[in-house]
Symmetry: C2
C-alpha cells in the first residue's frame, strides 16, 4: 500500500465511484462508470483499473461479482485531492439565516437552533458544544438574600455567561443590605480576575468571614465552568440516520446512538479536534472509536470574539456528501460565531 499519487485516469475513476456511490449507496459497476461518467474509455479498461484500485486499497468489493465502493482510504484521497466543494447557494443561505434567532434569549437557545438547522441542511446528526474560554474572568457578581440561612450568588463571567448558586451562610440573619454591600466589595476587588488570580489574592486581614466564604464560592463557580470545557450542549437529527440504508441493521444504529447519547464519549470525540485547521473530516476507522466505524465526522470550531470557542459538526455515514456538507458547515459555523458574539458581547 504505497502512497504514490494516483495517475489521472485512476483519479477520475475514483472520483466517479465516490460520486455515484454517494448518490445511490449501491456498489458501482464498470458499465455504469463507462456510460455515465467516463465515456472516453471502455468498460473493460475501467475494469482493469478498478481491480488495480482494489489491490492498492482505494476501493472495496463486497463480493466477487459485485461493483466497487470506496474504502476509507479512497474517501481520504477523494477528500484531500479530488473533492470540489459546492458553493453554498443563495437558496441555502436563505434557508439557514432565518433559523438563527435574531435576538435569542440565551446561548442555549441559539445553539439549539443551530443544531436543528445543521441537522436539516446536512441530513446528519449535528453536534454543537457551547462556547468556552480557557480561563474565564469575573465580570460581575451579585448576592440576593433568600432566607436567614441562605443566599443566592449570581456570577457573571467574561463572555456574559451567567451562573447561579445557592450558598449556605455561616453568619445567620444576613439581610439584603449587608449582602448588597458585600457584593459591592466583591465587585471592587475581584472583577477582571480569573479563578487562579482570585484564589491567590489573599483577603484583607480585617475582612469579615462572610467575604472569604463568598470568595471561595466564586472561585468554585469559575473552576466548575473551566472544568466543563468541552461539555456537549446539544445534538439533533438522529432521525436522519434512519433514512440511510447503512443503518437498516439496528446493530449499527445502536452503537452510534450509544456514542451520541453518552455525552462523555462525544466530548472526548470533539476534544481531539484541532482548533485552527478549519473544517476537518474524520473518515470511518480513522476515528479509533470502534463504535463509529462506518461513520464520518465533519467538524470545525466557531469563534466568538478573541478567546471564546466552541465546536460544531456533523456525524453521518461514511457515504456522506462531503462536497456539500463541508462548505455548509463552514458557513453555519461562521454565522453561529457571529451570533454568539452578538449575544454575549
Amino acid at each position: 500500500m504505497d502512497t504514490a499519487p494516483l495517475d489521472d485516469r485512476k483519479q477520475q475513476i475514483l472520483k466517479a465511484v465516490v460520486r455515484d456511490y454517494t448518490e445511490t449507496g449501491v456498489p458501482v459497476g464498470s458499465q455504469v462508470l463507462a456510460t455515465k461518467y467516463l465515456v472516453s474509455w471502455s468498460s473493460a479498461t475501467i475494469r482493469n483499473e478498478l481491480a488495480n484500485l482494489v489491490d492498492i486499497g482505494y476501493l472495496l468489493q463486497p463480493h466477487t461479482s459485485a461493483g466497487r465502493m470506496p474504502s476509507d482510504r479512497g474517501y481520504r484521497y477523494y477528500v484531500d485531492f479530488l473533492m470540489e466543494e459546492e458553493a453554498v447557494g443563495a437558496a441555502v443561505r436563505r434557508q439557514i439565516d432565518p433559523t438563527l434567532p435574531a435576538h435569542p434569549a440565551s446561548v442555549d437557545e441559539l445553539l439549539e437552533a443551530a443544531a436543528l438547522t445543521l441537522a436539516l441542511i446536512t441530513d446528519s446528526v449535528s453536534i454543537v458544544t457551547g462556547p468556552t474560554a480557557p480561563a474565564p474572568k469575573l465580570k460581575h457578581v451579585d448576592c440576593v438574600s433568600l432566607d436567614e440561612r441562605h443566599a443566592l450568588l449570581m456570577v457573571l463571567l467574561e463572555g456574559n455567561m451567567l451562573r447561579q448558586q445557592v450558598v449556605e451562610l455561616s453568619t445567620l440573619s444576613t439581610d439584603q443590605d449587608t449582602l448588597s454591600q458585600l457584593a459591592t466589595t466583591l465587585r471592587r476587588e475581584l472583577v477582571g480576575l480569573d479563578a487562579g488570580a482570585i484564589a491567590e489574592a489573599a483577603p484583607p486581614a480585617d475582612a469579615p468571614p462572610l467575604l472569604a466564604e463568598m470568595v471561595e464560592h466564586i472561585v468554585e463557580v469559575l473552576r466548575s465552568v473551566q472544568r466543563r470545557q468541552d461539555a456537549v450542549v446539544v445534538h439533533d437529527g438522529v432521525r436522519n440516520l434512519l433514512r440511510q440504508p447503512e443503518f437498516g441493521d439496528h446493530e449499527r444504529l445502536q452503537q452510534v446512538l450509544d456514542v451520541v447519547e453518552e455525552e462523555r464519549l462525544l466530548g472526548e470525540l470533539l476534544s481531539r479536534i484541532d482548533v485552527d485547521k478549519g473544517v476537518q473530516i474524520v473518515i470511518g476507522a480513522e476515528n479509533e472509536m470502534a463504535k463509529l466505524h462506518g461513520c464520518s465526522l465533519v467538524l470545525t470550531t466557531y469563534r466568538a470574539g478573541r478567546q471564546r470557542r466552541g465546536t460544531i459538526g456533523v456525524l453521518g455515514p461514511t457515504r456522506m456528501r462531503y462536497p456539500q456538507v463541508a462548505p455548509r458547515l463552514r458557513y453555519l459555523s461562521q454565522r453561529v460565531g457571529q451570533a454568539v458574539e452578538r449575544l454575549l458581547g
Copy 2:
C-alpha cells in the same frame, strides 16, 4: 362495545395475557395460558373466553391462527383495575439516589441527570421539562454595562429562576454607575410584582426614558417565562427503543423520533397532563398524535415548593412494564422535586 366490568375469569385471563405479552412480545396462545398462568381451566375454556375478549375489544388477534395480544382498551382495563404496582426496592433506590447530584450547579444539570436515570430504570425514552410557575414574580434585577450601546439585564424570578438578556439602549454612553442606580430604582419599584402588575403600574411622569425601556424588557422576560417558551425539555434513552422488537421496522421509529426531536410537539404533549392526578398513563391511540400510536406515555408532575411545577415522564412501546415503570417514575419525580427545591430555594 359495552363497558360492563369483566367477570373474574375474564379479568384473570386478560391479566395473564398482558403479563405474558409484556414479557415476550409474542402473541399468547391458550396453551401457554392454561399451563403457565391459569391451571384451573383447560385450554379449550380459555379459547372460548379469548374469542369473547376479542369480540368485546379487549384483545387483538394479528391473524387467524395466532395467539392474542392486548388492545389499547385491554391495556386500559389492565392499568385501571388489574395492575399491581411493584414496590420500588431498596436496590433500585440505591441505583437512583446517587445519580441525582447532591449539589448541582444548575437546574439543567439536575434535569439532565434525572432524564438519564429515568431512561435507565425504565428502559424507555425519558422526557423532562424544567420547573415553571404560573405567574412568576420579580425577585431581583440587576444591570451590567457591556458597551456604550448595550447592557445586560439580569432578572431573578420567584423560584430563583435566573434569566438574562442583552438589551440595546436608546441612550448612548450609559455607564455602569447609571445602570446600577437604575437597577436600584427598578428593585425598589418592581420587586414582588408579576408581569401583569408591572405592565399596569404607570412609570412616574418624570422617569427617564431608560427606565421605561428597562421595565418593558423586564415584562417581556416575565411573559416569556409564563408562556413557557423557555421551558427546558430534555430527553434521553432513544437507544432503548432500538432494543424493542416493535421498532424493528424503521417506519415506526422514524415517526416516534420525529416527535421526540421536535420540542414543540413534545411540549404540546406534556402540556395536556393534568397536574393533580399523580402518575398518568396514556395508552396507544388514546393519544391523538397519530405518530405515537403503538406507544404509551407514563407522565407525572414534580413539585418544587408551592407553585413551581415541571413535568417528567416516559415514552415507550405500548407493551411496557407499567407495574414497574409507574412507581419508579413516582419515586424519581419526588426526588427531583426535592432536589429542585433544594437548588432553587
